[in-house]
Symmetry: C2
DNA sequence: CGGGTTCGTGTATAATGAACACTAACCAAA
DNA sequence: TTTGGTTAGTGTTCATTATACACGAACCCG
């Protein structure tokens, strides 16, 4: 079956920059292309938008199909439409970024033949299309956004220590933070629920665990208070 | 001539939220549709992306064709892809917002048959498609952005008084600012060039005029200082 | 039980934000 | 020319927030 239009139409795709955090570094999930163009190169997971799905649905579907990820934090980044960004034909892509708990989503099955792998953000291969551009924009957006929205928690296990949280901010923002000031600030926001649980299997004093309390956050917003690191 | 594709493709459009500032209020430029759907309704200026132009080019072209505007500040907002946002067929639109100096761009010629007019932001007609949604998002974005980027100047004449600038921020942010604190802050940024010119034709003491100094701003950025109101 | 490692905590000082009122300049109208 | 009306322009004080900084407690392991 074919579809006819009176004017030429750009193809429309979605691409996702998927961030994860491990013990060391911020990571990005890439897939290896097994079709031309850029066959064998690494690229952002993504693909064509189908005619009966929203842009977000398309992004989530591609994530599921290419990387096995579901129910991740997902937000639109920007749309890229350089005329020659795809050598085959005109392709406009709506870029998204996702935050995943690497601990929860250990499994990484690419249901089609391609490979998928995490790469350290400072250790990336060169990417297909304009995907390095998109990735850079996503990183900047993430850096900005974590400072005024509590999205960083999406990268941590549900229960985490304050040191883990500080490490997250230091890693994303790429600068060191003062331990005491950080704890003062984050606790004063009142959006962390202090648990009666502690780290286990550590060779030193175990840290108390906390959980992000979405309800407290909503309440905070209604009072016009701003989350800000 | 027709174009054939093996899969159905969404149509791709651009739409622009054009902001202007007059003596009273923040204004938005709308056009009146003379074709179905939503014939006779007001809508954001916009139209189809052609196969050989970038998204930004398309936005600028549509602005020129429908409103006569050229060389305005233009920035991508977000992309809207609800499946039923256009009753005719699947249409995905890349939304932009523009800031114009209403003083410079008095002329408002719609080269096609439609009407174009400024509407106060608090006095809008109901809009075609999901354009009210887009407009609301644009307003929020503008409110955020003026607070950490010097884009407000794009709405003022090249030479302006500090009172005009304060009025701009008060209007966009929809809250009152303290006169002395505002002046202290904005001057301390060192991005305003003090001119030896004053208002004319005012029935009271004439205010000194200033000009935004882009070079000083760039220098400021390089030193890691942040613009912030 | 000693060494190694991370956890958890408070205070003092500097910088920034917020509140606040009067005189100066200019025009217009009497 | 005087008076009234309107906006311009200007500093200080106090409260709040940001920054810098060090050591004992807890726990594991060998």
């Amino acid at each position: 079956m074919t579809f006819e239009y009176s004017h030429a139409r750009p193809a429309l795709t979605v691409d996702c920059v998927v961030f994860g955090l491990d013990q060391r570094k911020l990571q990005v999930l890439l897939i290896q292309r097994d079709l031309p163009p850029f066959r064998g190169d690494w690229a952002l997971p993504g693909g064509f938008v189908q005619i009966d799905e929203t842009l977000e649905s398309a992004a989530r579907r591609e994530l599921r199909e290419e990387t096995g990820l579901e129910q991740v934090y997902l937000e639109q980044l920007s749309t890229y439409g350089a005329v020659d960004r795809d050598p085959r034909e005109r392709v406009v892509t709506v870029a998204w970024y996702a935050l995943v708990r690497m601990s929860d989503h250990r499994v990484m099955a690419a249901t089609d033949a391609r490979d998928a792998a995490w790469y350290g953000i400072d250790d990336l291969p060169s990417l297909a299309f304009d995907h390095d551009l998109i990735l850079q924009a996503a990183q900047k957006r993430l850096q900005n956004k974590v400072q005024y929205q509590p999205i960083g928690f999406e990268l941590l296990p549900k229960k985490f220590s304050l040191s883990q949280l500080q490490f997250l901010y230091e890693t994303i923002l790429d600068r060191e933070l003062d331990k005491r000031n950080f704890r003062k600030k984050i606790l004063s926001l009142g959006v962390l629920q202090e648990l009666d649980e502690y780290e286990t299997n550590v060779a030193h004093r175990a840290a108390r665990l906390y959980r992000f309390d979405r309800r407290q956050y909503q309440r905070m917003l209604k009072q016009g208070v701003h989350f800000e690191i």
